[in-house]
Symmetry: C6
Subunit: 74 residues, 6 copies
């Protein structure tokens, strides 16, 4: 893939959260490279509560990493 991640540092906790979301999605994209198929799948899981919770779990895990990388924006 082309360059998409050059730093884990962000200016704010919210930007860090959005980076965590990007990392979660990239974890999917490396396994399923087709954006078309990913969009089809999203229609299904975006309307399934358990699927959404699992997605939120992946984001939470990446947010631990990003927050630590930024020393929790203290």
């Amino acid at each position: 893939m082309s360059d998409w991640l050059t730093s884990l540092q962000t200016d704010t906790p919210q930007q860090g959260f959005e980076l965590a979301i990007q990392l979660a999605r990239k974890g999917v994209a490396y396994t399923q490279p087709s954006a078309e198929i990913r969009n089809q799948l999203r229609d299904a899981y975006a309307n399934n509560a358990d699927s959404l919770t699992q997605s939120s779990q992946v984001i939470a895990t990446h947010y631990q990493t990003v927050a630590a990388a930024n020393d929790y924006w203290k």
Copy 2:
């Protein structure tokens, strides 16, 4: 999204827990932006034990981050 997260610091462990809940919900909201659909889904998973446990797992993961950010309110 508009600004919704400016700091991971909270005054008390309980406020930190409530922030963890907010983070868990935001992880869902970025994937399913429709509040109407999220409310419909909540009716179902709020009455399903396993779905509630999974939600509690996401909160637990975020609480690790928030607690570390606050040096555990020591």
Copy 3:
């Protein structure tokens, strides 16, 4: 909610474990505030091995936080 969590510090590792259980249950209670419904759900998942394992997973995650907050009661 009223105040229910004022500190993550406990006197013993066992009290810390019991606090982790409380945190796991609170994560459920914020999503399903009805104690009556939660009690109904408990009858089901308390007799399902996989549900119990998932509950134990949430407790384990919170226990990491509580143990770190107490410097592992060294």
Copy 4:
């Protein structure tokens, strides 16, 4: 419950692993206090690969805590 956990320190990494197993089981026992029911459930999940993997996941999570508490027995 009576006292069952007075320290996270163990002499060896293996004893720490066995403590992690005990913690995983205690997480179940607090939710399902009946040893008779737990034994019945064990017959089922001990013969189900995915259930065993989930149990192993809980142990792994507790082992992180126990290992950190012992500074990894360095």
Copy 5:
């Protein structure tokens, strides 16, 4: 297995992410050594949203390790 992992250090956060993906896949390959069977399985889970999310979760967990090993590329 032959040598496939000599260091957790990488030059960039993105290379670290790609190492996390490799670690996630190796975790599968040690259990299912047949590349042919793994390729067959990939066709199925690469088109299943929940399977992709779970894969992304494993990557997220390994990325915590790799990022810490690189002091978050600060």
Copy 6:
């Protein structure tokens, strides 16, 4: 059980990964002590993508512990 784990220190990151695999399997073996039954179960889950992913998740969790124990082999 007889002694099977005397140290979390390994010479290389790859040996650490293989130790993480051993820990994941031991977590199963303590619950299902019969090697014969475990081998039967492996035939099933080694051909199921989601089961393999879950196994990889347990390995990832243990690898965090082993890597930290070795200061990431820096």
